[in-house]
């Protein structure tokens, strides 16, 4: 089994927490269990998010005010953190906490 490729995108100001990067293609290392968004969030915390973690995460999920779309669909329709990530999924995190 090879590593899992996913496209992670940030918008609405969430990119400010990630060196202003709006798109990142990442390869998740292979592991026994299937990769869920919950695991991805931990991976992001350890590898991409360097500071102000509380602006992005809360508990084992994202903080209220951060919206998540998996392939343009609301993650609330896809079992949120339990969604099993498929190869080449496009996962978008949008902040509603910035401005306005």
């Amino acid at each position: 089994m090879n590593s899992l490729q996913v496209n992670v995108e940030f918008g609405g100001g969430a990119e400010l927490l990630f060196d202003n990067k709006k798109t990142v293609t990442i390869s998740l290392p292979e592991k026994k269990e299937k990769w869920t968004i919950e695991h991805l969030l931990i991976w992001i915390k350890d590898n991409l998010l360097k500071e102000r973690q509380e602006m992005f995460l809360q508990g084992n999920s994202v903080r209220p005010g951060i919206l998540v779309l998996v392939n343009d669909t609301d993650w609330e329709l896809m079992n949120t953190i339990n969604y099993i990530i498929q190869p080449n999924d496009r996962i978008l995190f949008i902040s509603t906490l910035h401005g306005g």
């Binding site: 100001g13 809360q58 084992n60 999920s61 919206l67 343009d72 949008i94 906490l97 401005g99």
Partner: protein, 394 residues
């Protein structure tokens, strides 16, 4: 579908509950609520699911219906649109542009002019982004600095710029806006002055209407804040569908029935570019009544998804006595002064009375009847503003 305990999302509220819904309800999410055929892509209010087409047409319809139903604009009126950082303004401009470009009889007929109020120190790069976004919708754009308006507001010609580079040339380094040592008073003053700025610029540019991009959360927060600060009598003006305290200019909140999720998805699906100011990130420091109520409403909304709509819809039903609008205006907020001429006692009178009676000790005693005292209290400012002014004068 099973949910083991450790994987429960934060919004989970009980056993067999999935985002406030029983697992049985989840089956109803297979099809869009409206067209009953397509696969849904968004869930709103934690219960209604829509496909992309129905969601987008629903949002556009809600916007046009709000403008049409309330008879807000006359044909070809100039409308001043206040631009702010974040999702709401970009959605507002896109909804306006789409409604103006319609080829059907439902086409909206008005002429928008966009204004951006620069508050903190502004990076040229950020202002350039605003210019690019507004120009992409083909609307005229003006820049004004909040500080310059405060120090030199009488001559709008000198502080209103069609080009941000001109504004930056004369950008004052000193902050002329007097901050009080009370964050609640400071935020209230900022809001009052911003509203005055918009009203005056609207007059200057021959607009009769101002659109502000307040969303449902802002309206709910402002409503509860207004009550806490003793502005309850002015709720219809401060938070209602339109603010008519100025006889010539009406301030309208056309996004009052939209929430942040709807607008964020609207922008994603329309592939709209956002302008986000790194300085305007929402703080959760709870030092002012406004911030405290914002946190309170947002937290309540998480577990009780009807919170915001209930508050906003209640606000929609409030109205101000039309005769009151003709009375003298408060020197600060310009809302009509409510002179208590009737025998009826209101809460402001009660507060004034206890203040007057406390001052009846021999050492403070001024020969002043309660009626004289009360009239003096309400001569210049409304009840809430008289409290704010105390901080400014200190």
């Amino acid at each position: 579908m099973t949910c083991s305990h450790h994987a429960v999302p934060f919004r989970m509220v009980g056993k067999n509950i999935w985002f406030g819904l029983s697992l049985r309800d989840k089956k109803k999410w297979d099809k869009c609520n409206k067209c009953k055929s397509n696969v849904p892509v968004i869930i709103l209010r934690h219960k209604d699911v829509y496909c992309k087409e129905c969601f987008l047409s629903g949002a556009a319809h809600k916007f046009k219906a709000f403008i049409g139903k309330n008879h807000l604009v006359k044909k070809n009126d100039f409308v001043l649109v206040c631009f702010r950082s974040g999702h709401s303004s970009v959605s507002l401009l896109h909804m306006l542009r789409s409604a103006l470009d319609l080829q059907t009889p439902k086409k909206l007929k008005l002429r928008p002019i966009v204004i951006y109020i620069a508050k903190a120190t502004c990076e040229p790069q950020f202002l350039k982004e605003i210019e690019d976004v507004v120009c992409s919708f083909n609307f005229p754009l003006y820049f004004i600095s909040f500080n310059q308006y405060i120090s030199n507001g009488q001559e709008l010609d000198k502080v209103l710029f069609a080009n941000f580079r001109q504004m930056l040339e004369n950008y004052p380094q000193i902050n002329s806006f007097k901050r009080t040592n009370n964050p609640t008073a400071t935020q209230t003053l900022e809001r009052i002055y911003e509203q005055q700025l918009l009203t005056e610029v609207a007059k200057h540019l021959n607009c009769s209407i101002v659109f502000v991009p307040d969303i449902s959360l802002n309206v709910a927060t402002n409503l509860l804040t207004s009550i806490s600060l003793g502005r309850g009598a002015y709720l219809p003006l401060d938070t209602g569908i339109c603010d008519t305290r100025d006889p010539q200019i009406t301030i309208v909140r056309p996004l009052r029935h939209f929430d942040d999720k709807e607008l964020a998805f609207y922008n994603v699906y329309n592939k709209l570019k956002l302008v986000v100011s790194p300085n305007e990130i929402k703080k959760f420091n709870n030092t002012s009544v406004q911030d405290l109520i914002d946190t309170f409403v947002s937290n309540l909304q998480l577990n009780y998804p009807a919170t915001i709509t209930t508050v906003v819809r209640t606000g929609d039903k409030l109205a101000l006595d039309k005769t009151v609008l003709k009375s003298k205006a408060c020197n600060l907020c310009k809302a009509p002064l409510l002179n208590n001429t009737s025998e009826e006692l209101n809460s402001a009178t009660a507060t004034d009375f206890s203040r007057w009676i406390s001052a009846q000790l021999q050492i403070f005693k001024k020969d002043e009847s309660f009626n004289e005292f009360e009239i003096k209290q309400r001569e210049l400012y409304c009840y809430a503003c008289s409290k704010i002014i105390e901080f400014v004068e200190k």
